[in-house]
């Protein structure tokens, strides 16, 4: 219980520090002063980016020490608390409310009962996600790189380049926030940061939707975001999809206010700051920002004047480039390709990199490479795109897994837009969504990557609800009941998914016991941590490296980089070759039963080497582990002699 409390305290400290860093920035720009929600959300978002930039600067300077991060965090958090107190006092004196003065709803606000029901449903989903987030992380991608890389950076005190990790040259701002939490507490705090970002996404969606729907209905948008299964699932694992969605949503909110509300040109700069943050988190932000730019140009071409908007866009692009530029320069420096490994054949002249080349490997997502794959002809793409909303709703397992799904709400509700009146701004939002969706479908059709447009789709859903008052009573009641049932199920999913994590969240079960029960790589990591020295280096078939204290290289990436298996003259030379490459141990992983799959190259070579030269390989530990889905894996930890 104490451990969970400390992790939550770390989250609060990080939030306070982010507010402390962001508030002066927002105040200096003179924007977002109209109401408490807008001020708070923009400040925390801007502060998170400032912290990410600061941590990156510390990383490039080789100063990533826990003590340095701790002192700076506490100073920023105390300043944030002081800022918050000052803001609360000022609001009390001027009697400002949460309702922005200019936001007028296009129709009467929702009934109090509806608002309260939505609030409690969203709170249930958030609480269920919180319970799950309080358990130690076991998500595959998180253990492969979202947490593994920041752990490595913290151990090395610098943003070290890891040639045997495809992900080490990605834009990594979200991972630096996890590094922040790892430095202050540990992996659970890092997971809670992503949970907190889920809440921030809901609040940012309310800020985004307010100019269109009014604040009361915008709260319904926020609740709808939290009730989407994709969001409540993402909030339980330290990935980066919610993080990029938050920054994209804040960028669009600021951009909307700059271009269409003509409030102040300095919103352009804030939009650029958030756009840079989104680009520093994940490549998919490029698609989102490109779609926004195209739709903005189309909109202002009809309305004019265009010059001010284009100048504002240039200013925003400059700020964005300053924020995200170091990450792309770093990738170009190490790999020759600023967006490595995408378009590798075009940008660096190398062979096309089949991303995550071993589909079905225990921790590798079944993504498609961006280049070198057959491209659908335009008519086929159009037909496939038109049918894809049905496909991604009914068969989410084909688009990244059932855990990451949008649910039925959007497919059931959004066709209602055909019967709705036009709403100022909604066409802008939906055009961005459509362009992004087509690009998403053509490039990387994984449902997780739809998160940036989720707030836009939720705005459309709420507008359909608002227009129900035009329906006859019978259909309106039917749709109301159906929607209530959908939202009820959406709220129940998160607590049900977290049902086996209550004991560890409440401290009844220890985190070690939970990991031994649920995370197969944890047992292998426990051996390695007990048997190996900190400067040893493991060549591993298991990619989940976070719980290993020693350095761990992924065998599949090392093999692709060096072709060591083909250059080996005899299996008996395996140990000598790998020792020459700097490795001291092997971690062999084999799937005994279940859907898990590991590439068997290293296991096969090790078995051959053992039969030819048994003195070169010594098996230190061996066991079979059953994970909580029933799959059985066999691990062998082998010393190279």
């Amino acid at each position: 219980m104490l451990a969970s409390f400390l992790s939550l305290l770390t989250l609060v400290t990080i939030a306070a520090a982010a507010f402390g860093l962001g508030r002066p920035l927002v105040r200096a720009l003179g924007v977002a002063e109209e109401d408490a929600l807008t001020t708070g959300v923009f400040s925390v978002g801007a502060g998170l980016i400032a912290a990410g930039v600061g941590l990156a600067a510390l990383g490039f300077a080789g100063l990533l020490y826990k003590s340095v991060i701790g002192v700076l965090s506490l100073a920023a958090a105390f300043y944030g608390v002081a800022q918050l107190g000052q803001a609360c006092r000022a609001r009390y004196q001027t009697a400002k409310t949460l309702e922005p003065p200019g936001a007028v709803a296009p129709c009467a606000p929702p009934r109090a009962a509806v608002r309260q029901a939505l609030f409690w449903l969203a709170a249930t989903a958030a609480a269920g996600s919180l319970i799950a987030a309080l358990a130690p992380p076991t998500a595959g991608d998180a253990l492969c790189y979202h947490l593994e890389l920041p752990k490595r950076f913290l151990l090395e005190h610098t943003l070290v380049f890891l040639p045997d990790s495809d992900n080490s040259t990605f834009p990594l701002m979200a991972e630096l926030w996890y590094l922040w939490a790892l430095a202050l507490d540990g992996p659970v705090a890092a997971q809670l940061v992503h949970w907190g970002l889920g809440l921030l996404l809901a609040l940012a969606s309310a800020v985004l939707a307010t100019p269109l729907l009014g604040r009361r209905w915008a709260w319904c948008v926020a609740a709808t975001v939290l009730l989407t299964p994709l969001v409540s699932n993402q909030m339980t694992a330290p990935l980066n999809d919610v993080a990029v969605a938050v920054m994209a949503t804040l960028a669009l909110s600021a951009w909307w206010r700059a271009v269409f509300d003509h409030e102040t040109t300095r919103y352009d700069l804030l939009a650029g700051w958030f756009a840079g943050g989104a680009l520093a988190i994940k490549y998919v932000a490029m698609l989102y920002l490109a779609a926004t730019a195209v739709v903005t140009l189309m909109a202002i071409a009809r309305r004019g004047p265009t010059r001010a908007v284009i100048m504002g866009g240039c200013g925003a692009a400059l700020v964005a480039a300053c924020v995200c530029g170091p990450w792309y320069l770093r990738a170009a420096w190490h790999t020759g390709n600023p967006v490595y490994p995408f378009f590798n054949d075009v940008l660096s002249g190398a062979q096309p990199t089949a991303l995550f080349a071993e589909p079905g490997t225990a921790a590798s997502p079944r993504h498609l490479p961006l280049s070198g794959r057959p491209v659908l002809a335009a008519p086929h793409l159009a037909v496939a795109c038109a049918l894809s909303p049905w496909q991604i709703t009914m068969h989410p397992e084909r688009f990244g897994g059932r855990g990451h799904q949008l649910g039925i709400l959007f497919l059931a509700t959004l066709p209602g837009l055909l019967f709705c009146r036009r709403l100022r701004g909604l066409r802008f939002f939906l055009s961005i969504s459509l362009l992004y969706f087509v690009a998403w479908y053509g490039l990387r059709p994984n449902v997780r990557f739809l998160l940036p447009i989720l707030p836009l789709l939720c705005t459309g859903v709420v507008w359909v609800w608002m227009e129900w008052r035009r329906l006859p009573a019978g259909p309106r009641r039917c749709l109301g009941c159906l929607t209530a049932a959908i939202l009820l199920v959406g709220a129940a999913i998160a607590p049900l998914r977290a049902r086996d994590r209550w004991p560890v969240a409440l401290g009844i079960e220890t985190r070690d016991a939970y990991l031994l029960r649920c995370e197969p790589s944890y047992r292998a990591a426990a051996w390695a941590n007990a048997l190996l020295a900190p400067d040893d280096c493991i060549l591993s078939q298991e990619q989940r490296g976070f719980y290993f204290n020693t350095r761990l290289a992924r065998e599949n990436v090392f093999r692709r980089r060096t072709q060591y298996d083909r250059r080996l003259a005899s299996p008996g030379l395996l140990s000598q070759t790998l020792r020459g490459a700097g490795f001291t141990h092997l971690l062999l992983a084999e799937a005994v039963s279940g859907p898990v799959h590991y590439n068997a190259t290293l296991s096969r070579l090790a078995d051959q080497a053992s039969s030819v030269r048994p003195d070169t390989l010594e098996c230190l530990a061996e066991c079979e582990v059953v994970d909580n889905e029933g799959s059985v894996r066999r691990y062998r930890l082998i010393a190279l002699r």
Binding site: G30, V31, E33, E34, P101, G102, V104, C107, H262, E263, T264, T265, A308, T393, M394, H395, R402, I408, L411, A412, T413, P415, G416, F419, R421, E467, R469, R470, L471, P472, G474, P475, R476, C478, L479, L482, A485, I486
Partner: protein, 75 residues
């Protein structure tokens, strides 16, 4: 005297702009006729079509997600 060309953006403050917009809304409300905010109802058949679509989508989704379709080899 010829008025100078306006090259700078409007310097009016943020709150002034908001107040101006609010004032425009008030005037627009005064000029609108009684009942102008009552939008026309949607035709009954369209409303039931929407209900039918939503019910169908939810039913198929429920069958697929509950595993019933897989168990009986329907889909």
């Amino acid at each position: 005297m010829i008025a100078p060309l306006k090259t700078e953006p409007d310097e009016r403050s943020f709150s002034t702009r908001r107040r101006l917009r609010a004032a425009r809304r008030v005037i627009a409300t005064m000029l609108l006729t009684e009942g102008a905010d009552q939008p026309s109802p949607v035709a009954r058949w369209k409303a039931w079509l929407l209900v039918a679509w939503a019910v169908l989508a939810v039913a198929i989704y429920a069958v697929l997600m509950s595993g019933v379709a897989e168990r009986f080899g329907i889909w």
